[in-house]
């Protein structure tokens, strides 16, 4: 059989039954497109979270009160409630560690906040004036907590974007209004720009008051729940971290760093923490993509096997007029390859289209990965070719009369 005839026969077979070829191609298209789109959404979401964490500030160290070990057993203070960090530590770091550019101590807790219209439960952060700089907080209206506010133990508050909306609704004039935290009146002096976080990293769902005010009225002691450190540059992170650690160990009179009553976390630690949280999400999306691949694969398989009956008769006929097994195999292999190729190309385009569409109209960021394209096309092509070619091969092994009689 001439190559030109193989091509012509393939073309003829595909166009002779447009509905059948169309459905086969559709099965492949859907299989491939859904995997590409699904994985694009998954990777997009992951990258989104990573980006947001990076947005917090890339040369940031956080010192948190940690478990205090004494006499061989650990006294767990839990999260940040242990009372080990003080303003003296802050000043010591500021003076002794040159690699640290700025030190922003804070104390925080979940509190009920009441406005004239509504109330909400949110994180109240007691902060100093340089907190905004260290944490990259921008103002949308008004001003941030100043040094003067801290000195004067002022009852002023800066609202996160979400809190402002929750308490006063959108587009409301909030500067100058009053809110109450644990029965104490605070005047609003500013609203922060939205950072668009979510869950545990949502900085829009928080309010800021002077640290001194927080300690005096809401906490009742001088301990800190967090010290944010801005390191001069990214390369000095490790060095700065060990210097701070050394200093604090000495100040707290602890010999062994394993007994430290504080934890220092850097950006990498935070990303790691967050990514363990997003892992569940990734696994879920991976499972969905896997299922669509299986469903798509079954679709392809189904189409290929459905036309086996008709094709078996065709093969019987071709053999009865002198086609060799080789001729049959060649024709059907070629046909499967062409069908999966057309379906594959269309599937990639559709998958990319859906991913871009979701990004544009659904407001979700998507990231199309080469891996997903290779995976989807590879699996679909394999299924398409195997199930297009294998039944034809089997039919070619029958004698012509058996094949012509196949039901």
């Amino acid at each position: 059989m001439l190559l030109s005839d193989t091509i012509f026969e393939t073309f003829n077979a595909i166009t002779a039954n447009k509905a059948r070829s169309g459905l086969t191609v559709l099965g492949i298209v859907i299989g491939i497109a859904s995997v590409i789109a699904m994985l694009a959404i998954g990777t997009g979401a992951q990258k989104d979270i990573a980006d947001k964490i990076k947005g917090i500030g890339s040369n940031l160290l956080m010192v948190m009160p940690g478990e205090q070990k004494s006499f061989g057993y650990a006294v767990r203070g839990g999260g940040g409630s242990a009372q080990t960090l003080t303003m003296d530590d802050v000043e010591a770091i500021q003076e002794d560690v040159d690699l640290v550019e700025e030190v922003a101590p804070s104390s925080s807790g979940k509190k009920q906040i009441v406005s004239s219209l509504s109330n909400t439960n949110t994180t109240v952060n007691g902060v100093t004036n340089n907190y905004a700089d260290v944490k990259n907080i921008e103002m949308s209206e008004g001003i941030f907590i100043s040094e003067k506010n801290n000195k004067g133990i002022s009852k002023v508050v800066v609202l996160g974007q979400d809190v402002a909306i929750n308490l006063f609704g959108e587009e409301a004039e909030v500067i100058g209004q009053k809110i109450r935290i644990e029965g104490i009146n605070f005047s609003i002096i500013g609203v922060t720009e939205s950072k668009g976080g979510s869950g545990m990293t949502n900085e829009d769902d928080a309010v800021y008051i002077p640290l001194s005010t927080y300690q005096q009225y809401l906490q009742g002691d001088d301990y800190l729940s967090l010290i944010n450190l801005k390191v001069v540059d990214q390369d000095s992170m490790t060095k700065a971290q060990s210097q701070v650690e050394e200093l604090l160990l000495a100040r707290h009179k602890i010999d062994n760093s394993e007994d430290a009553d504080f934890n220092i976390m850097n950006q990498a630690d935070i990303v790691e923490m967050a990514s363990s949280a997003t892992q569940t999400f990734t696994i879920l999306l991976g499972a969905v993509a896997g299922i669509s691949l299986v469903v798509g694969g079954i679709g392809i398989m189904n189409m290929m096997l459905t036309n086996v009956t008709e094709r078996t008769r065709e093969i019987g006929l071709r053999k009865s007029i002198g086609a060799k097994k080789k001729d049959i195999n060649q024709q059907f292999l070629f046909e499967s390859i062409i069908l999966t190729f057309i379906g594959g190309a269309a599937g990639i385009l559709l998958g990319i289209g859906v991913a871009l569409g979701v990004a544009k109209f659904g407001g979700i960021s998507t990231e199309i990965s080469m891996f997903s394209i290779v995976l989807a096309v590879g699996v679909s092509a394999l299924i398409g070719i195997v199930f297009g070619y294998y039944p034809a091969r089997r039919a070619a092994n029958l004698n012509p009369i058996e094949a012509l009689r196949y039901e």
């Binding site: 005839d5 019987g316 009865s320 007029i321 002198g322 060799k324 012509p400």
Partner: protein
């Protein structure tokens, strides 16, 4: 040319066994024109498929040009079907949704006949079955039964096979067209020496042949050559 020795064909479907051919033996010489007759279900088509090297007997031997067909390789069988045999199926077996012309040229594809020649050969074959050129580009499932039958015959003739096997080639045709086709067969037989075996129910069609074999219940009950009559078989 072809020789059958004790051919038996048993179809098994589950518990049921059908003996379609029962110990059939005969020979056909090169250049003979043979008609096979017999009631429906007597095993005519089954025999024809074996003669066409399309199916194997359950028992017995079939020799084609001295070769034991059941001992030939797949590729050798394909060569024989392609070059020597033209087969007209009782059920036509045209390629669906494909034009008449493509159906007729199909055997030539496997013979790797040059493209320019294919068209010429197809035209000759289609004219030999008197199919209106207007129909040549119609799809095979959009023509009448008689037209389908003629396309099936044209496909069997297209590569000039030395053995033509036709299973009721005129069953769906009017007498005039049927006679024209039988004339064509006769001419191929007399002028070019092609061997022709056809199955028919009609005595008038069988009269075109030089020899008549009658089958009943898978057995040959009569085998007559014109002008001289003799009987074979056990009954």
């Amino acid at each position: 040319m072809l020789k059958c020795q004790n051919l038996t064909k048993i179809y098994k479907s589950g518990e049921n066994e059908t003996k379609a051919l029962d110990d059939v033996s005969f020979e056909i010489e090169k250049g003979e024109f043979v008609a096979i007759m017999g009631p429906s279900g007597s095993g005519k088509s089954t025999l024809m498929h074996i003669l066409g090297a399309l199916d194997n007997p359950t028992q017995g031997k079939y020799f084609l040009d001295g070769n034991n067909v059941s001992e030939l390789s797949e590729n050798q069988l394909a060569e024989i079907r392609k070059k020597q045999i033209g087969f007209v199926f009782q059920a036509f077996n045209l390629l669906p949704r494909t034009t008449v012309l493509r159906n007729v040229t199909l055997p030539l594809i496997y013979e790797e006949t040059p493209r320019e020649e294919r068209r010429k050969m197809a035209e000759i074959a289609l004219n030999a079955v008197k199919l209106d050129p207007e129909r040549w580009n119609h799809l095979s499932n959009q023509i009448s039964g008689g037209q389908m039958q003629r396309v099936a015959i044209a496909r069997a003739l297209v590569n000039n096979p030395s053995l033509i096997l036709a299973d009721e080639p005129t069953g769906n045709l009017d007498i005039k067209t049927g006679d024209f086709i039988l004339e064509t067969f006769k001419r191929l037989n007399k002028e070019y020496g092609h061997t022709i075996v056809l199955i028919t129910h009609e005595e008038e069609v069988a009269d075109w042949a030089d020899r008549k074999i009658v089958i009943r219940d898978g057995k040959i009950i009569e085998d007559v050559t014109k002008n001289m009559k003799f009987k074979t078989g056990s009954k």
